[in-house]
Symmetry: none
């Protein structure tokens, strides 16, 4: 559509400036000190939606950070697309590894470096600008709703309550999300599956106080040593997870699906080189793409205990802690796996220590059928702007709200992401390529044009 | 000796008053604001030694806080005893947990509450008053030297240089130190061994940056998991340390020594109750006292990696770290064990990660042979005043100056302490029992009488 192309070309600098302004707001949902920034960010998102031309934009309070809701209803008899995204971002630590300030967006070689540039401010903002394009060129034919939340990075603890209480308001024929990655601009892809999540924290208590490691060392269990032994026991020599029942509900992929997956381009040497590792690691019997796509995993996200400062302190600590999460695949249930994890830690705790395992948050795995009308519209939109049919892939990450939306709104979710795996999500120097940002804004209007509900 | 008893009985109130005056000087070596107090304290110690009757008392400057040196040479052909102690004290924080001012010595129920009351002002001052007793009753037959330093609580950074530069001045037939504890006044004991130390830090690097645990989890080794597996492998199922060669130089204790050690009173139920643990832990085949006394150990002093803040972050971290220290027993060499530890970590590192292990610091273990003339004199002195043979015990901590003295002065060190484990060393409400203070003053002259060089 030449009219879209002209409008976007004329306004591209402003689109970018608006995104950079949004990236300057340190909307870290995990830290209570950023509460005012969260409110400021929600307000900014609402204003940008109003400026884009929606009929209605509102900030809806939750028990946590607010949700921005907006809608442009053209004709209630036409299909409705609900765009979901999130304005909150991950914490930025370790700060010293950033080459520029995480909230001081810096453009180098056509890439925007900033926390949230890709995950997810840059991506949901493509939808705001696509909507603006459609409205301002008078070409919007369907209805578009926005639900932009502020708690995705802390597990969306209040979204479920909100969605359940607002099913009429949010009612749609599909949910469209850009919070995933393309294989590359040359090889477009669509995520058809996402892994679920069970995230727990484990606290191991040995003696009731920090002890002198000389006076007591050797006679009292060290909670760090015990925690390490428990962690070490979670994977066997084939890197299978040892928790009883963990794999029970796993839907094994067919030989056909595995053969299709194997066609996705993958260069192991480049992959290792990019990560700076000499050898890859993983579950025996599965390829790298399978390990991150169709297999569940168990990762240590954090560990701490004892003296961690400069120099040396001869302490035998009272406590050690770990943050541990499992990625789940269909049909593993998050509640069930969380229960297995927590029970397992309590079961393997030796009598020298006390172990407390608690849930942080969880989410269900998700699978989008490639014969759904929403998937078809997304594939056709990409064919139009990329000139190639996108490859369906199974992503390793988790967007737990997919299964929530499917269940509560009774419609399919399409994951049309424009990021790249190399975008350093959740890491220092997160980035988003300008080319991907503009490609998203170019492609999204076609989705709305092609989606038939 | 009735003459000593009479002299001490007559002067006991003054002895105590003098100690209380010394305790009022806030000689905290760690804090530069106390530099004037350190000088005042050194000066007071020197004056008290002069008043006790030494031939010579001097303040020797070092690169840090000064050392007080004094001597009483009766007959150069007779044995010489070097008394070592320290006039500096630990910081007093947290102040709000003290029941009385740390530098306002308060006597309650026969106990002196003050910082330094036991560690070590009260203990080295027993030697000053024992010396006075010997001189004033004309019963001193040997030679006594004093070396009272002001930096023990900060690791004696300048003592080694001082001792090496003054071997002639400090030359002695044994070094006598009161800076340890008795089992109780009913159960006298002598520390015959202290453990050495090898303290290292381990850094495990997986991918070259923090990764999203969903996108990469399952395909790239997690450095926390790998570090945990390495730590878990350091102890076998009997809690023996698995590092090849670790036990090679260990001087096994004789059946006799172990039988003697087993006579020390030990109440496992009370020990567990005090620490708040349901079960003790340790190397199979050894008792708790043996585990902390005659056996080397390997302790995790700290661990950290990944996200350790509030809430949850789904990161697969680039790095994980641990602080690890071994306590050594004779004849394990600190340099040798450090080399074994570092080499072992490099050897067991799997190819998925890079491991860097580095030294923090080390110290040699120490053992006083129970057949040495110095030990025999101390045991006989205690038999005389306690009416019981002291139990030789092996302490779990480290006093690195012991091996310094032995090496530089070529003589044995005797640890004849009169404190109690319950004296709250380094903690709020440090105390020293008056009964222990007077028992030390009563016992020490017998050591000089019995010591044959």
């Amino acid at each position: 559509m030449q009219v879209w192309k002209d409008y976007q070309e004329k306004n591209k600098d402003r689109f970018l400036e608006e995104l950079l302004a949004l990236l300057r707001i340190p909307s870290v949902s995990a830290k209570s000190e950023h509460k005012p920034d969260m409110l400021a960010c929600a307000e900014a998102v609402k204003q940008r939606l109003i400026e884009a031309g929606v009929d209605k934009a509102e900030i809806h309070q939750t028990a946590g950070h607010p949700i921005v809701y907006a809608e442009k209803i053209t004709d209630p008899s036409k299909p409705t697309v609900l765009v979901y995204g999130h304005y909150d971002v991950q914490p930025v630590e370790p700060l010293d590894l950033w080459n520029s300030g995480p909230f001081d967006p810096t453009i180098i070689d056509g890439k925007i470096f900033a926390r949230g540039s890709c995950d997810d401010k840059g991506q949901f903002y493509m939808h705001v600008k696509a909507l603006e394009t459609l409205i301002q060129t008078n070409t919007l034919e369907n209805n578009i709703k926005f639900c932009i939340e502020g708690e995705e990075e802390v597990g969306s603890p209040n979204l479920s309550t909100y969605v359940k209480a607002n099913t009429e308001l949010l009612k749609a024929d599909c949910v469209l999300i850009s919070d995933t990655a393309l294989i590359s601009l040359d090889t477009p892809s669509l995520d058809i599956g996402l892994r679920g999540l069970s995230y727990i924290e484990v606290e191991v208590t040995g003696p009731n106080r920090d002890l002198h490691s000389g006076v007591y060392g050797g006679a009292v269990a060290n909670p760090i040593t015990i925690l390490a032994k428990m962690i070490a026991s979670l994977h066997d020599e084939n890197n299978h997870i040892t928790i009883p029942g963990f794999y029970e509900a796993v839907l094994e992929s067919s030989t056909e699906e595995r053969a299709l997956m194997a066609e996705a381009p993958f260069n192991e040497a480049e992959y290792k080189d990019d990560l700076g590792v000499r050898e890859l690691w993983g579950e025996a019997g599965y390829s790298t793409n399978e390990r991150t796509g169709i297999r569940p995993t168990l990762e240590l996200n954090g560990i701490w205990g004892g003296y961690t400062g400069e120099g040396a302190k001869t302490v035998l600590p009272s406590k050690a802690f770990a943050k541990i999460s499992a990625r789940l695949v269909p049909n593993q249930g998050s509640d069930k796996i969380t229960e297995l994890l927590i029970n397992h830690f309590h079961a393997i705790a030796p009598p020298y220590v006390t172990v407390k395992a608690t849930l942080h948050h969880g989410g269900e795995p998700y699978l989008t059928p490639i014969d759904s009308s929403a998937y078809k519209a997304a594939a056709k939109a990409m064919e139009t702007t990329f000139g190639k049919t996108p490859i369906p892939v199974r992503g390793g990450g988790s967007i737990p709200i997919c299964s929530l939306f499917e269940k509560e709104l009774d419609c399919k979710v399409v994951l049309m992401g424009f990021g790249l795996d190399s975008d350093n999500l959740h890491s220092p120097n997160e980035k988003f390529d300008l080319a991907n940002f503009y490609k998203g804004i170019e492609t999204i209007p076609y989705f709305h044009k092609y989606f038939e509900g």
